[in-house]
Assembly symmetry: C2
Homo-oligomer: 502 residues x 2
């Protein structure tokens, strides 16, 4: 019997996904394990396999398989899940077809080398050494935007890769709302008489013991260590070759237990999304995450809404006090809660609190949009950066390593990525509000260390759906309305009113 | 300008080698890092990429590129290094071409299932459960030998895969010499009045401290950690995706410092070979190791000739005593040296000392040759095994798990592999002898912790040559004569005369 075209398509997608597991493994290895000198040869290997995969993906369309299926999906003679797969693959291939293989290889090799240059430049606090690489990457990304095409802004073409369906205009609108709220609100907090001393939490915590505790928390909130790992890298991340091979990282400070733990909970949120994707659909868009924004909503939900709530710590804090009696035994839960939620404008995004975090994103979004639209001379970046940090956050950037060089994103060409962090915060607040409504006991259960119900809810309503819906559709389906920054603003106002007696 | 055919060949070999780095990375990951549940999906990914690589390799010949070049090499219009590359690749492809894809797949699937059956049978001490699988594998390997072809013994065809150019006859001759010496010599040691108590070295050594010390020793003798790693796995191994990405593993016992260290030094020997292959020839046979025997000579040289010598420990032992005062501070160097060189016949190959190790190999070689030549009924294996162990080593095999089932090799069809372990020992003694002659101060330098000269000698004379010579040619070139077991015999006699006052 002849294999049906839709099954042929799935077979080919599955082959591609399996080959991609090795690329993703390599990416993880490069950040976590790979010896320094291997980076050049690895870059070539990755680029070769990427090329093969790219070719196999485009071949799906070139062989004529897809167009027939697309017609059947459009005419509804194929419906349901199969139609979603066809339309999504069609869309992805349309985008890729616009990028010649030689361009993809050039970008991938440049990104790999540029990332190394960035790492060195950051170490040396030497923006100038990175400038030629950044210039090259920006040039390639502008070319990519032209190749892909766009309606309003060239930035749309890049944003669409990370948050499909979202436009620059929409992002601008929600971030503008947020900015209008945050800058004066931060001022109010600064003027509050409440003073919080974070130094009280410092101590000496051995890395192996910290690792055990991080692992314990991650597992307790749902991470399956038979299908994943927790390692160390400079910049915490989640890499998921397969839903049964989900790898998260964190980094440790010997004197600060909370430093690693926050990242671990954040990455666990990402990991739960990946582990919750449906294995039976592996290879198809039904087993892919929707967008970076939705991905980030899962990490931020666990890191902040759950992981910085008093209920969460009602359960975990006694464990902290037992495992790390000095200094925790002498600090009461209420004081601890106040300290971990301290609002403190700084120049480092990854260390920012819930209130200031989105301002860091707004700075990056505004700058990278200007870069893409050609309004910025790259050599002026450090000046522009520091001016915005001063204006929005009220702090002075001490040097470029702690300023414009702090994030890896631009070095690898990830323009359009940053706004998804802010979108994640907005989605998470909106999802959190509906979860509380649908599960009135959720927070009480959390205080008893019961995370299963919340985890199952997220799996059922978000993770297991893969890419069945766009981020806009999903938020509407799950919460009953479209993305709205007021949920986040309300969440912040309610939480920090008490904390800072505003 | 048109690319020259030889450069086209090199380009294609380079592409294949780069893709293979990802397969090798995956192999390492499977043993060292991969979460349990990922094994099924990873197996598919590896088989897909292996298929792609196999196809690319055969395409070199199918496209007609190779035959033209082979003619030019044969007629000496291409000479030198290029001719070596052409002839070696031609040979490798000729072997692969003789094995139909369906056969390769059948063998690979049977091997994978047979390995699982073996693991279970070993656990259950149930040879009968493994017998049908072994029968199947032997049948397939006999078929492989017929497909590949041979002159004298079908065993030649299998041996050639691991030790190219070596014949069964040659192996038989050197192992016969060795056996004639070892059996009576072991008897003499058994009769010696010298008694050694290895238990004195036991203590409590934390794994992180052991790791640091293993790393220190490995680095000191030449391993470049910017181009490699040291990790943990059940069975120590070396995996080398690239000469700048060489990964070794060891395993630790909390009560025995020497358990991990011996393996680490052994694997460092392998790693130095890999790190010493010439990068500029990466992808070609000029940057490939010659044979498993030569590879093993490098590991055994460092593990035994160097790593179990008094000079080596003159330098390292004070460090051991300082880092691990209990129990080492109270044990003198001379006693320590005696303990780590204790000769103790046992039924387990991997725990064998220098004197008895080759007897383990001789047993396996004799049996597997008979199997391939059809002189053994497989159901009699346990009896044959135990009788030989009794005859050669003088010990009783307690059960099949600790006897005929102890090694993985036969279960995966690796017939012809075992003798390379013994060849490694013989090569290493012969190389060691010439090193001492050419560098009269080598051992003195070693006692001062100076390993650079020895390392450079090995790199220049062996590692950097890749596959320029066959193992037979190399040994002749380096030592002035062909493989000769008398070097190993002399080495053993000289060393153990003192140790056991023979």
């Amino acid at each position: 019997m002849k294999t049906k075209p839709i099954d042929l398509l799935k077979e080919r997608l599955l082959e591609i996904a399996h080959l991609e597991t090795l690329l993703k493994l390599s990416k993880w290895d490069q950040e976590v394990m790979m010896p320094k000198n291997a980076s050049d040869s690895r870059a070539v290997a990755v680029s070769l396999l990427s090329g093969i995969i790219h070719g196999k993906f485009l071949a799906i369309e070139r062989d004529g398989l897809l167009n027939e299926l697309k017609k059947e999906a459009d005419s509804k003679s194929i419906k349901g899940k199969d139609a979603i797969i066809i339309k999504e693959v069609f869309k992805q291939i349309e985008r890729k077809k616009k990028l010649p293989e030689s361009f993809v290889r050039e970008l991938s090799e440049a990104a790999s080398k540029s990332q190394n240059a960035w790492a060195q430049a950051r170490k040396d606090n030497n923006f100038k050494a990175f400038l030629p690489w950044l210039t090259k990457i920006v040039e390639l990304k502008k070319k990519e935007a032209e190749l892909v095409g766009y309606k309003d802004s060239s930035y749309d073409a890049l944003l669409d890769e990370y948050e499909p369906g979202m436009t620059t205009k929409e992002v601008e609108a929600v971030l503008q709302d947020l900015k209008s709220f945050l800058i004066p609100y931060l001022q109010k907090i600064k003027e509050s008489k409440v003073k919080v001393n974070t130094k009280k939490l410092l101590g000496k915590f051995s890395i192996p013991e910290q690792y055990e505790f991080n692992k314990y928390v991650s597992e307790k909130i749902g991470f399956d260590f038979n299908s994943g790992r927790l390692d160390i890298s400079t910049h915490p991340f989640t890499e998921s070759p397969h839903m049964q091979d989900v790898r998260i990282t964190t980094r440790y400070k010997e004197n600060d237990l909370m430093y690693a733990l926050g990242s671990t909970i954040h990455e666990t949120g990402h990991a739960l999304y990946e582990q919750g994707l449906p294995e039976k659909h592996f290879g198809t868009p039904l087993a892919e995450y929707i967008s970076l924004g939705i991905h980030e909503s899962q990490s931020r939900l666990w890191e902040n809404m759950f992981g910085k709530s008093i209920e969460f710590w009602k359960f975990f804090y006694p464990k902290v006090q037992k495992e790390f009696p000095s200094p925790y035994k002498s600090i009461k839960l209420e004081e601890f809660y106040r300290i971990i939620n301290k609002v403190s404008p700084s120049f480092i995004r990854t260390e920012a609190d819930e209130v200031t975090y989105n301002l860091h994103i707004i700075i990056r979004f505004e700058i990278e949009k200007e870069i893409m639209e050609g309004h910025i001379n790259l050599k002026d970046l450090p000046t522009i950066w520091s001016a915005k940090v001063k204006e929005y956050l009220g702090v002075d950037v001490p040097d470029d390593s702690l300023g414009v060089l702090q994030d890896v994103h631009w070095s690898i060409g990830a323009f359009g990525y940053f706004p998804t962090y802010a979108l994640g915060n907005l989605y998470s607040a909106q999802i959190f509000a509906i979860m509380k409504r649908e599960m009135p006991n959720m927070e009480k259960k959390m205080a008893k260390g019961e995370f299963t119900e919340a985890g199952e809810w997220l799996k059922k309503n978000i993770h297991s759906l893969g890419r069945t819906y766009s981020s806009g559709e999903l938020i509407k389906k799950v919460t009953g309305e479209k993305l709205n920054s007021s949920y986040f603003i309300e969440y912040i106002e309610k939480k920090y009113k008490d904390l800072y007696t505003l």
